[in-house]
Symmetry: C2
Subunit: 298 residues, 2 copies
């Protein structure tokens, strides 16, 4: 009996000020991946613009667009042309003064299979996302496509095991994390490596703990901080695809545009879970306090 496999690709690229150039880079990568037989494509977070959250300024809300809108229309055409599933990232304008950081899944017919609005919103120097993005209100629900049920999350979500677990419990077959994360140029090499390694490790662990493949994209390149409050960011690339035991199947460099591709065997999830049956043994009778902010001393 043939196995249920997909060929996943990640388009890792740099981003600049020009929307057309950025979208062109995304589409060029998709065409290359399609030529290589890929059928599920993950783009980086906010891949049509600079990572504007480096500073808090109202002018950047002009970059937002509705869904459906220009980006999902253009990428929908690419998806339909090649019969691909594409996971793209959109600065979503939902209403006047209401914006989200949203991932959109385009199905092989070019239509919108579903969207995920980033639930966990970061906010720290150079990553002022709480200024721009209202926290997602759609919850953690995998999106059904013609190639499988996809657990799409976004960047900061990757640090939260709860998000991966909820997608897994709801039947996600693969976890996806479009990301935009980089180094503070002022940090020393050891700190930089600890951060990048922590980022890889925590996501590989979502694969391990849920017996699910994980596909994680990031951008590359240095982007300056127009406010000069920080030294900007060196986005660390390192996009990767790992299997159900967290084993790396493909990984990109830290600093170059790349298209990486890996075949993912979806049937391995059931096989691995038979001998590593975490889902059988979860103590759901004893997890209530997960819903608390902190468990203060009695």
């Amino acid at each position: 009996m043939s196995r249920h496999t997909v060929r996943a690709a990640i388009i890792q690229h740099a981003c600049g000020v020009d929307y057309e150039e950025n979208l062109g880079r995304s589409i060029q990568g998709i065409e290359e991946a399609a030529a290589g037989g890929a059928n599920i494509i993950l783009l980086p977070e906010l891949h049509t613009c600079l990572y504007f959250c480096v500073e808090a300024h109202t002018r950047y809300f002009d970059l937002a667009e509705p869904i459906p809108g220009p980006t999902t229309n253009r990428l929908g055409e690419v998806a339909a042309k090649h019969g691909l599933v594409i996971i793209c990232s959109v600065f979503e304008r939902r209403s006047k003064g209401l914006y989200h950081n949203t991932a959109v899944v385009l199905d092989t017919d070019g239509g919108i299979a579903g969207r995920y609005r980033k639930m966990h919103i970061p906010d720290d120097p150079g990553y002022y996302e709480k200024f721009y993005f209202t926290p997602g209100d759609l919850g953690f629900h995998p999106i059904q496509t013609s190639l499988g049920k996809l657990g799409v999350l976004v960047c900061w979500d990757q640090w939260f095991p709860e998000a991966a677990r909820l997608m897994s419990l709801a039947g996600a077959e693969i976890l996806f994390y479009p990301s935009a994360i980089g180094w503070d140029p002022a940090d020393n090499p050891a700190e930089k490596e600890r951060q990048r390694d922590a980022w890889i490790t925590v996501q590989r662990a979502h694969a391990v703990a849920n017996n699910l493949p994980v596909v994680t994209s990031n951008r590359v390149g240095h982007e300056a901080d127009p406010s000069r409050a920080t030294d900007g960011a060196d986005f660390w690339g390192s996009s990767f695809i790992c299997g159900q035991q967290g084993e790396i199947l493909a990984q990109a460099s830290a600093d170059k545009p790349e298209v990486i591709v890996a075949d993912i065997d979806l049937d391995r999830t059931d096989e691995v879970r038979r001998i590593w049956p975490y889902m059988r043994d979860r103590r759901i009778d004893a997890y209530q306090d997960i819903l608390r902010r902190h468990i203060d001393d009695e």
Copy 2:
């Protein structure tokens, strides 16, 4: 201002059929670690006996003991002698026909600071723990000692992010995982490495996701399966200590008895959390389904 540090040690050793020899190995390692200035000691899971769960047989219940009992008394004396905190592992006889896989924390005065009864119980060929151990009924509560609040879990718990998170929310300063895990000698080298790496990765990720140090012990050596149903197990050692970003501070070999030691800076948790503030951003309004076994299609 001086920083709050502890020197943690792990005693990695093999286990045989003789209780006195096994406990002697544990104590010898503790003495060595104490001589090196360690003040918190982690022993492997069920370190006074062979890993009897390789088969299911009623005779092994004779190995169980009460708490307090012979092992906690003996190790309590060692703890008091050197002013150490010792985390040991006991096959606990709680009542007639009621047994647990329990970790006991002995404080620097030799008294019992608290116990943790393994909450997640594995059961697969060669690891028939559900036959022996009633799942813990004490929940996930850190144990206060004179050296800090310790989040003590046991082996199979290490695959469940919920357990680490609950300990973290309740104020644990370090996570500890006494373990007994090994390879099926019949598996090929690539599968063995995937398993060992997954085991390391998922625990390092508990450090990352909770900004907490993790201390994980394991035994070494081959143990046969008296039932001959399996080829027994090659316990893979690899005990390790990692810091708040999952960075490895010390790691033992896969096959040799060793005492490993690392200084842990407990003040780093607050520092790392200031710039990686996951606890601030957890979506506790949207995690309810964590309490479900599975989210079935509507």
